[in-house]
Amino acid sequence: MNDLEQRLSESLVRRAQTVLEPVFTADDVVHAGRSAVVRRRVLAASGALAAVVAAVLLATNVLGGDERALPPVGPTSPPSSVAPTPPSAAGLTVVGFNNGKTVTIQPNGTRSTLDLPPDLTVLDVIGVSGGWLVHARAAGDQSHGLWIVPEGADTVHVVDLEGNYEVSADGRTLAAVVVGGEVVAYELPSLQERRRIRRFNGQPFVVGIADDLVLLREPSSDGAPTKAAVWNLANNLMGPPTENNVNVWSLGSGGQAPVAIVTDPATGGQMRGCLSVATLRPDALPENAPGFCATDESGILTVLRVRRAAISPGGDQLAVESYDERRERSAVQMVTVADLNAGRWQPRPTNAPPDNRVLFWDSRDTFVTASRGPDDFGAPYYRCGTNGACTPLTLPTDLTEARVVPVYGGG
């Protein structure tokens, strides 16, 4: 081994020494593995079903290939095409960088420069009641933290993070998974700590906050369902975890949460998939809310395909990311909660580009999507209406890494 190779080897060993044990456990992996096996089983069954259907249709000279026999997840008849002249991001709040400063542009065009310590690397910004909540990393520091920039007052470091954080729709409550694994709830903008609770079943993930209720669940790096629980800030009690592993992605201001549950026949009973919108109880996430439920392969596959569902502020619409594993592509669809409550799955297509992510609802009738994750600055953004029409947003060109950000409670 020559000098370079020796130095390389030493560097790798030193770096590896900084990493100890993973956060996940063997139980997490086994659980995710079981979910993956269920998915495969359903997909295999669906593929066989599709092949039979295709064969029949081919015999009657109706269909050219088995792929078309599969229920599509993408738009079948997209609404009006993308506007020829892209509108600006008017009506939305934009954050970006100018000469190393973090600049916010409010819907009325007002620009402000956030007064942040110079050594911070800003990762995300959210408008909250009375100011801005900034997620950032300090120079040379591997930890992440939250800072708040109040209007007319000095910037304050809130807390260092170990997990994620969410803000309530009224912008008055922040819940964050802090170093040590506790979840802490703060009042905004005062930053007064309201409650603090220990982790449940491993590191929690904050799904959302509605009034005094915080919906938490176990984390899932691959989208596999996990247990969820409700933390009531009024009495600081954590309700019991859900009986089933669930996928729950968002929480409306009225406490409504879109929930997907697929029961595994390995644990007894028939395989069944349900997608519903449940309203939180003070101590639990209901698992039997009325919704679209299926025991056939196609129906279960429909439930499994939902990667994310964001509920509108009014609680009457869902913006759904539905993933087609065969095509490795997702599509944004609209689903009316009333349809779901009545047991119907009647998604409406949008013309958001394939693989767009639903980021947040910016009004009762419109939501924002982007082609990549919300942590990717500079992604092309779209604003979609409940009619499925999405228009690209033009962001200010004088800001680098500009992004559209949510504002909760009038930032």
Binding site: L8, L20, P22, V29, A36, V37, D160, L161, S221, D222
Partner: protein
């Protein structure tokens, strides 16, 4: 998977996930992504359990999945969660971290293409030979050689450039 096999799998995860995480970290350079990568590789292994007849081959299978996933998966990373780029450092690692800030080798390693980086990690951290690396990454031995050669040349060039620049400043 039957209960006995599942217990074997659990034992393997409990015993080896730390080591796998360290390798994953070197492959992707980010603690959070490394966690995701290891979990993904282990889940794939769970699903493929029926095809892995020899328990002795388990480690090799996971390592292969880890490496091939690291070099192909990150471009289409999808998660329903708002990811955090990095996890907080481990207790007591601050001191090490300060020293590592001066580790330009690590910085340059991060700029290499994923497969070149994977070859170097498997060779100089895992201590694998050319044939094992070829098997792990599902590439030919010739490709392993060329990746290693190009990666080392790039590192040498960048380190030499840095020395020259430092010399000028001094």
């Amino acid at each position: 998977m039957d209960p006995a096999n599942e217990q074997t799998f659990r034992d393997f995860v409990a015993a080896r996930s730390g080591a796998l995480l360290r390798t994953a970290f070197l492959l992707v350079g980010d603690r959070g992504r490394a966690e995701d990568l290891v979990q993904t590789a282990l889940v794939k292994t769970y699903v493929a359990w029926g095809r892995i007849r020899d328990p002795e081959a388990l480690e090799g299978y996971v390592r292969r999945t880890l490496a091939t996933t690291a070099t192909s998966w990150w471009r289409r990373k999808s998660s329903s969660e708002r990811p955090l780029d990095q996890f907080p450092d481990v207790p007591g690692a601050d001191e090490i971290g300060a020293r590592l800030d001066r580790d330009v080798m690590w910085d340059h390693l991060a700029t290499l293409p994923a497969k070149q980086r994977a070859v170097l990690v498997l060779r100089y951290y895992e201590g694998l030979g050319e044939a094992e690396i070829a098997d792990t990454l599902r590439i030919s031995r010739g490709t392993v050689k060329s990746h290693a050669s190009r990666a080392l040349a790039a590192l040498r060039r960048r380190l030499d450039g840095e020395h020259a620049e430092t010399g000028v400043r001094q």
